[in-house]
């Protein structure tokens, strides 16, 4: 799947401003960004629901504008609002989508049964979706998206508004999809979600991708991991600082932060050294830069650079 220089404006508001993306088959790709970053518009263009004002995009080898029908035959979309008929039962919803996927009446029934089994909906199959909780509704919605065995699945904020338990169950469903060689494109505001599910992440801001890569690579861009040592007394702190040759200004309130590669071997070495020097370590914490750090650093710097641009214009 590829997108090249996508542009989209609504009136005078530019939503996408030269978006480039390349997504490999069978991977989970997360579009990460705050509200208004252009995530949903990107998904709508890639899923043929909206046409771009400029640029090109291909999904499953087909152009989203010129070959939209071929694209539609390969994809499924689960939008922000659950796209289910509330007055129909879970089973009826699934069978309706099955018929629209040309499975025939018998085929649609079989496929509905499979998905009901897989999504653990057997107890509620004959209940109207209106009576479902948000999490169950989302499950039905996801199941409907899988009726046609899509090659590419778009999930627009799949867990927004769900309670933690429902979020966990949606996550496990998405993880299972990867095993079936489905390409998943998901948008999210939750860094934890991208970290948990995605092979690669694109951070979006102001209608373009400001960083792209694996979660680990993005974190490395921000900084290394740190081992934080909490020491029993200030005497221990001094001894530790001397033993590890750490500048005293890195110590703070009985804590000592040491750069680390995060491996067990390095932590063991660190603790052994401290023990040899008679340092009493109370507790240790491993601090990895989170995607929050990545996100804030990246979007923060981009705001910074645009301020500079403006300042230069004025000058």
């Amino acid at each position: 799947m590829e997108a090249h220089a996508l542009h989209k404006s609504y009136g005078s508001t530019t939503v996408l401003d030269g978006l480039d993306l390349a997504i490999d088959r069978g991977t989970v790709f997360a579009l990460l960004g705050s509200n208004g970053a252009g995530k949903t518009t990107t998904v709508r263009i890639l899923s043929t629901l909206t046409s771009p004002d400029g640029g090109r995009a291909t999904v499953a080898g087909h152009d989203v504008v010129r070959e939209s029908r071929a694209v539609r035959a390969a994809i499924s979309v689960t939008g922000q609002n659950a796209a289910v008929d509330e007055l129909l039962t879970a089973e009826e919803n699934l069978r309706m989508v099955g018929r629209l996927w040309r499975l025939g009446a018998a085929g649609a029934r079989r496929r509905a049964d499979e998905l009901i089994e897989r999504f653990d909906l057997a107890d509620v199959r004959s209940r109207r979706v209106r009576t479902f909780s948000g999490g169950m509704r989302r499950k039905v919605d996801l199941a409907m998206s899988l009726v046609g065995d899509p090659q590419v699945l778009f999930l627009d904020e799949p867990t927004t508004g769900l309670d933690p338990r429902s979020r966990q169950s949606v996550w496990s469903v998405i993880s299972d999809l990867v095993a079936d060689d489905v390409t998943v494109v998901l948008t999210t505001q939750y860094l934890e979600e991208a970290e948990r599910l995605a092979d690669r992440v694109a951070v979006m801001d102001g209608g373009r991708v400001i960083a792209e890569g694996t979660v680990d690579a993005l974190k490395r861009q921000v900084g290394t991991e740190q081992v934080e040592l909490v020491l029993a007394s200030s005497a221990d702190l001094d001894r530790a600082a001397r033993a590890l040759d750490v500048a005293a200004n890195l110590t703070e309130g009985g804590h000592l932060s040491v750069a680390s590669d995060g491996t067990a071997a390095h932590v063991r070495h660190l603790l052994n050294t401290l023990e040899r020097h008679g340092v009493d370590v109370a507790t240790i914490r491993l601090h990895r830069p989170s995607l929050d750090d990545v996100f804030l650093t990246l979007t923060g710097s981009s705001t910074g650079s645009s301020t500079v641009d403006r300042a230069e214009e004025v000058a």
Binding site: V77, L88, V97, L100
Partner: protein, 258 residues
């Protein structure tokens, strides 16, 4: 759409959507009951309460039934507008659009279900009317004529409702818009002869689509001469149908485009 769909699939998709809309109609019991009970209540009200005071030159029940049937289509149109608006407002239309299916099938489903709903509520109204003394004096052919005119009217008003549904941003707004259709029968010859209205209002009542349609149905069922009214009714109905159909098609394209 450059890559077109085979006609067979258009039929198949439409049938699936018709099944969906019919099922939703039955499940949406409140709306169904409203669309049947309200006109029946109004008919009883007019026949037993107001009817005695209104001189139409014939049994009032015979006079008022065609009007009630048209009023009934107004209530039916509210349901149609609301369900179209709800589909667009909620995510389901996006799901359908992201599938390789016939685009128009969703609207076909709504329209056919609307006609079926209206036919059903009209039948109930007519049966109750017969029970309270409605005695049309018509042969088979005039009956068929009346049914034909009513079906055409229902189809036209359905497409107008689809337009309302597509124009409105929400189900509530769509419901509000159908007020116009609900109100029109009162300013027509539905309940009282137009001649009894003040002179400034008479042109309004005479030159709106409901009056000729009602007069034509009356003419067919009660054997009164229809004259040019039938042609006028036909012109109004077909005109409305064509305009609403084109408008709905354009609106649907616009509402569901990026």
């Amino acid at each position: 759409m450059r890559d077109a769909l085979e006609p067979g699939w258009v039929v198949s998709d439409s049938l699936t959507m018709i099944g969906r809309s019919l099922r939703l109609s039955i499940r949406n019991l409140d709306a169904l009951i409203t669309a049947v009970v309200l006109p029946v209540m109004l008919m009883l009200l007019f026949v037993y309460v107001f009817g005695g005071a209104i001189d139409t030159g014939t049994e009032y029940v015979n006079y008022v039934v065609p009007g009630i049937v048209l009023l009934c289509t107004g209530f039916g149109s509210a349901t149609t507008a609301v369900s179209v608006a709800a589909d667009v407002e909620e995510g389901i239309v996006d799901r359908f659009r992201s599938m390789a299916i016939s685009r128009s099938a969703v609207l076909t489903g709504h329209v056919v279900a609307s006609v079926v709903r209206n036919a059903f509520s009209t039948l109930v109204v007519v049966l109750v009317a017969v029970a309270v003394g409605f005695r049309p004096d018509a042969g088979l052919l005039p009956w068929l004529g009346a049914v034909g005119v009513l079906l055409l009217w229902v189809l036209a008003i359905t497409w107008v409702s689809v337009c309302f549904g597509l124009l409105a941003g929400s189900a509530e707004a769509a419901n509000g818009m159908t007020f116009t259709v609900l109100f029109l029968p009162y300013v027509s010859s539905a309940f009282v002869p137009v001649e009894t209205m003040p002179s400034w209002m008479r042109p309004v009542a005479e030159h709106q689509p409901i009056t000729p349609v009602i007069e034509t149905v009356r003419g067919f069922l009660l054997g009164t001469p229809t004259g040019t009214t039938a042609w006028l009714a036909l012109a109004w109905t077909v005109g409305l149908l064509v305009i609403a159909f084109v408008a709905a098609t354009v609106l649907f394209g616009r509402r569901t485009a990026g």
